[in-house]
């Protein structure tokens, strides 16, 4: 058991004086399950990385203040002693492992903490059993699903047996059932193994009756505050409300013209069936919103629609099987706005990026002046010489959206296009998308958790759940 105290802690990125964490003072009590919430990008991960002792060595940012475990400063602790004090689980399930198989990874962990080789088999079996993946012991990690990988990550933490467990949005890529199950496992680790648990999540579902303390990282003050029962209730209520916005939308009419049709379709990239569709269509010149839980397979569906992933069944574009359309032609007709903006960039500077779009665009819908005006509206004017990789996340996203609007593909798929945008930018982008649709007849399919501010853009809403997708009458 250990109490984690953060004292007068500040953090700012290299070459910036902006305080991401501004004299944070907070104590995570020993043997408690503490939830830390706050909007994405508010600095939760940064603080957790410091608590886990991974920062400052893995960051170039500047920090001041101390983090202590029962009075012991974590940055001054020897690495091997630190292993006994704290371990961390990350958000991305794909980059947490060094070895090839489940068993080898756990052995790697145990060797690192100098465990007795004679007891390793037992420890590995116990850890796998605890998280419920004994069957996966000899599987290659590359063949596991996102949820299974996160279970393995938790098994590694159980095997390490550190006092404090730090988790950064650990359930962002797993299905709701696994989420509930893993939260219960964490509860067990607290109740039966005396662990202190510090977990960051912006999704508040399933925590209400489990956690002991509720902390909020306020994006306005960059400080963390403990919330009392009444304040907590408000958070949970607001979160519930945000999940269900009740704006009416229409169901597609039978006469509606389909542009993408999906038939006898099965998507099972890791052996688990994510989606089965007998006959489903997206409609021409409309904006369709796709919603559904994290990790359910929405992005994977986009991967199939853009031929990045194999699928069973048939997908047609304007009546033609997409497998028979030439790659370049298809990529310019059905284009994806990647969730990660950097995936879209091919050049170095903002100007080069825009010039490329102007040169290769599908049709010349925007004049030079209009593009300039669009850039001004999202505060990217006069930044032509900036290196795209040095822009802030929000700026990258906005540049990415502009350059894809300039490309003017007939169908634009967008994976979380509003992530990291402030409300003003969101409205501007919404208007630009609306214009592309009404003026130029673009078909838009959007995956988004963010529903506020989209009421005027969205024509149809389809919900992804229970391995299928259905059109809904509410947003």
């Amino acid at each position: 058991m250990a109490e984690v105290a953060v004292n007068n802690f500040t953090f700012s990125y290299a070459k910036s004086n902006f305080m991401v964490l501004n004299y944070v003072n907070v104590t995570f009590p020993a043997n408690h399950f503490s939830l830390l919430t706050g909007p994405s990008g508010s600095g939760k991960s940064t603080l957790l990385m410091f608590i886990a002792g991974l920062y400052p060595s893995f960051t170039e940012g500047k920090s001041k203040g101390t983090i202590t475990f029962d009075g012991k400063n974590i940055t001054e602790t020897q690495p091997q002693e630190k292993n006994k004090m704290v371990s961390m689980m990350f958000q991305n399930p794909n980059q947490q492992f060094a070895m090839d198989t489940v068993f080898n990874e756990l052995v790697f962990v145990l060797e690192n903490i100098n465990a007795d080789p004679a007891k390793m088999d037992q420890t590995v079996d116990n850890a796998l059993n605890f998280v419920g993946i004994s069957k996966l012991k000899n599987r290659k990690i590359n063949t596991l699903s996102g949820g299974e990988k996160q279970r393995l990550a938790l098994a590694s933490i159980v095997a390490m047996d550190a006092d404090v467990i730090v988790l950064d949005e650990p359930f962002a890529s797993i299905d709701p059932a696994s989420r509930v199950d893993l939260i219960n496992k964490l509860k067990l680790l607290r109740d039966e193994h005396g662990k202190t648990i510090i977990l960051a999540d912006h999704d508040l579902s399933d925590y209400q009756n489990v956690i002991d303390d509720f902390f909020f990282l306020d994006p306005a003050t960059h400080k963390i505050n403990l919330q009392n029962q009444d304040q907590q209730k408000k958070f949970y209520a607001n979160f519930e409300d945000a999940q269900h916005i009740t704006t009416k939308v229409k169901l597609p009419e039978k006469t509606e013209k389909e542009i993408l049709n999906i038939r006898d379709f099965t998507l099972d990239p890791h052996g688990d069936v994510l989606l089965k569709l007998a006959n489903f269509s997206f409609y021409k010149g409309k904006t369709t919103l796709v919603t559904g839980h994290n990790g359910i397979g929405k992005s994977t569906l986009f991967d199939a629609l853009t031929k990045l992933l194999k699928y069973e069944g048939t997908i047609t574009y304007n009546g033609q099987d997409i497998k028979k359309i030439k790659p370049l032609k298809y990529a310019q007709s059905v284009t994806l706005l990647f969730q990660d903006a950097e995936s879209q960039f091919l050049n170095i500077t903002v100007k080069e990026e825009l010039d490329l779009s102007m040169k290769n665009r599908f049709s010349a819908q925007y004049s030079d002046d209009e593009v300039k005006k669009m850039l001004a509206e999202i505060d990217l004017a006069n930044r032509g010489e900036r290196i795209v990789y040095s822009l802030s996340e929000g700026q990258k996203k906005k540049l990415q959206i502009i350059e894809m609007l300039v490309m003017a593909p007939p169908v634009l798929l967008m994976d979380e296009p509003f992530k990291g945008l402030d409300y003003h930018s969101l409205l501007v982008v919404g208007n630009l998308l609306n214009e592309a649709k009404t003026k130029f007849g673009q078909t838009q399919i959007i995956i988004s958790h963010q529903l506020n501010g989209l009421e005027n853009l969205v024509d149809y809403h389809t919900h992804f759940a229970n391995q299928t997708m259905k059109y809904q009458e509410v947003l």
Partner: protein, 217 residues
Amino acid sequence: MNPGMKLFLVILIALEISFTENLVVNLILIAVSFIYIIFQKISFKAFLALIFVPLLPAVAMFVSQLMYGTAGIGFAWILFTRIYAYVFLGATFTLTSNITDLALALEQDFRLPSKFAYGVLATFNLVPKIRQQVKIIKTSALMRGEVLHVWSAKLYFKAILSSIQWSQNLAEAMTSHGFVEDAPRTHYKVIKITWQDWSLFIGSIVAVQLLLFFIRN
């Protein structure tokens, strides 16, 4: 045999035949490797690939020596068999060892820093992801109207950017799983160099020297 030692043995012999011109020894090495491989459980497809894939470079070497070289047909055959000797020697190693055991052996028996052994291993395990990333980069470029070929600099630029990102994440992940550079670790699977390993190693080297000495073309 200890995988690390086996690797050195194969490299040593391959180096040696690079600097000697002995057709019979090449043939003997191919034959011995061939028999060794047959006794390993390998798929028929892999076996066929082993025979036919080197054919093109081997024939190319042979023909170019014959047409443009001055050393005659004997030397052309030596070049031809040398390619096969390389491939078969290599196969005796790759078909019978896995990369994890090799990393463990290099760490435990050859004093390779554990950071390096596990770093290489982790990178190796990333290969399927790298392939997918290359596909994403190419598709993303198509969507911007650019066709990236294997020789496009942009493809490599983007791939290198991704790897820098990944290597950072990997280092963080290894550290969070308790890995400490240069710190002592226990070993679940102890890979030792046994006296059989030494005798096989020395025996093979000596045998090759004797063959090279006694068999003259």
